[in-house]
């Protein structure tokens, strides 16, 4: 444990710091999990199937798509293939996280990888970059989010129909979270520029190409453009 450096300060502190960081994610997950549970029970899934899905899959958007596809009678293989397509973006996030998990033991990595979602990824990346973060705190964020997710999806199958649609602005919890996590990433001009390019490309891609490839496509393209722009600017500076 000592190789994590100065941030390490006992299990209790790590749990507390992880929980303090994770609560906005949990707040965002709860209404979405409820909504998923409601939809799933309307599609005829029993509560234990929803629990099984949230434990084995833990990927919100793929789970919503799965429920919709089950309701329309899709084949198992086509649901699995769609899940793969929708979740491929996490390979990019996993690659970006690798920078902060140098030489960490592989059992830990395997457990940690299970909990990489859009939200936990963005939160942990921002914290790691600020420096006051370690892998155990990051794991607490992942697992706590997962726990709330399982709890809320199962709750949704049992009580969800009593909650009025759109109450308390719950539909905006995730967009609000994405907006703030995006702000955390704007650490300089090249980041702002890359974000703007990703915005433009993703919109164009979304409007022109069906499916969900716009997330992976636009982020790879924008990051690559940003990389070359940064490299060119650096070379120019070296010359002058």
């Amino acid at each position: 444990m000592s190789k994590d450096g100065p941030v390490e300060r006992g299990t209790k502190q790590q749990l507390r710091a992880g929980a303090a960081a994770a609560w906005p994610i949990c707040l965002g997950y709860f209404p979405i999990g409820l909504a998923l549970g409601v939809l799933a029970s309307q599609a005829g899934l029993p509560w234990w199937a929803v629990a099984l899905m949230s434990i084995l899959v833990f990927a919100g958007s793929a789970q919503f798509i799965c429920v919709a596809m089950l309701a329309s009678g899709a084949a198992i293989w086509s649901i699995v293939l769609t899940t793969l397509m929708v979740n491929l973006r996490h390979a990019l996030m996993s690659s970006a996280l690798a920078i902060y998990f140098k030489k960490v033991d592989r059992r830990f990595l395997t457990i940690f990888a299970y909990g990489i979602t859009d939200e936990s990824f963005a939160l942990n990346m921002a914290r790691f970059r600020d420096g006051d973060w370690d892998r155990w705190r990051a794991l607490v964020v992942n697992q706590l989010s997962n726990f709330v997710w399982i709890l809320s999806t199962v709750t949704g199958t049992l009580v969800g129909q009593f909650i009025p649609q759109g109450a308390f602005g719950i539909d905006y919890a995730l967009p609000g979270m994405f907006i703030c996590l995006l702000i955390f990433q704007l650490q300089g001009r090249i980041y702002v520029l890359t974000g703007i390019m990703a915005a433009g490309i993703s919109i164009a891609w979304y409007l022109l190409i069906p499916g969900d490839s716009y997330i992976v496509g636009a982020s790879i393209l924008a990051a690559t453009l940003g990389y070359f722009i940064k490299r060119r600017a650096r070379r120019k500076n070296e010359l002058s």
């Binding site: 899905m53 299970y114 602005g169 967009p175 609000g176 979304y206 990389y227």
Partner: protein, 106 residues
């Protein structure tokens, strides 16, 4: 569907979800990454977040066409400013939710 069918479906979905999350981390964290890759990867988070949020704000998902009048976009402006000023994740989520709620009550 029966229990074995659900298990087969969710287990398969779990595998194709886990492997993309696991393999790059598992492989790359024990490698010395070349500097260009580190530079490129550092731009990935901002690009992904932008690609995730912008269509939510600007596109009508049912018709898949541009829509600049969405309440999501209107609420995003003060939410964005609040996030920029406070850098508080929880606060931003709450402000966004309350504004969106108020707007839907109008």
């Amino acid at each position: 569907m029966s229990f074995p069918e659900y298990l087969l479906l969710f287990f398969s979905m779990g595998v194709v979800t886990f492997v993309p999350r696991w393999f790059p981390l598992f492989y790359l964290s024990h490698k010395r990454l070349p500097q260009w890759l580190v530079d490129w990867l550092s731009l990935i988070p901002v690009a992904i977040l932008s690609a995730l949020i912008i269509p939510i704000l600007l596109v009508d998902t049912t018709t898949r066409s541009l829509d600049l009048t969405k309440p999501e976009l209107l609420v995003a402006v003060p939410t964005f400013i609040f996030a920029l000023k406070t850098k508080s994740l929880g606060g931003t989520v709450l402000v966004g939710m309350v504004l969106y709620w108020l707007l839907s009550c109008l």
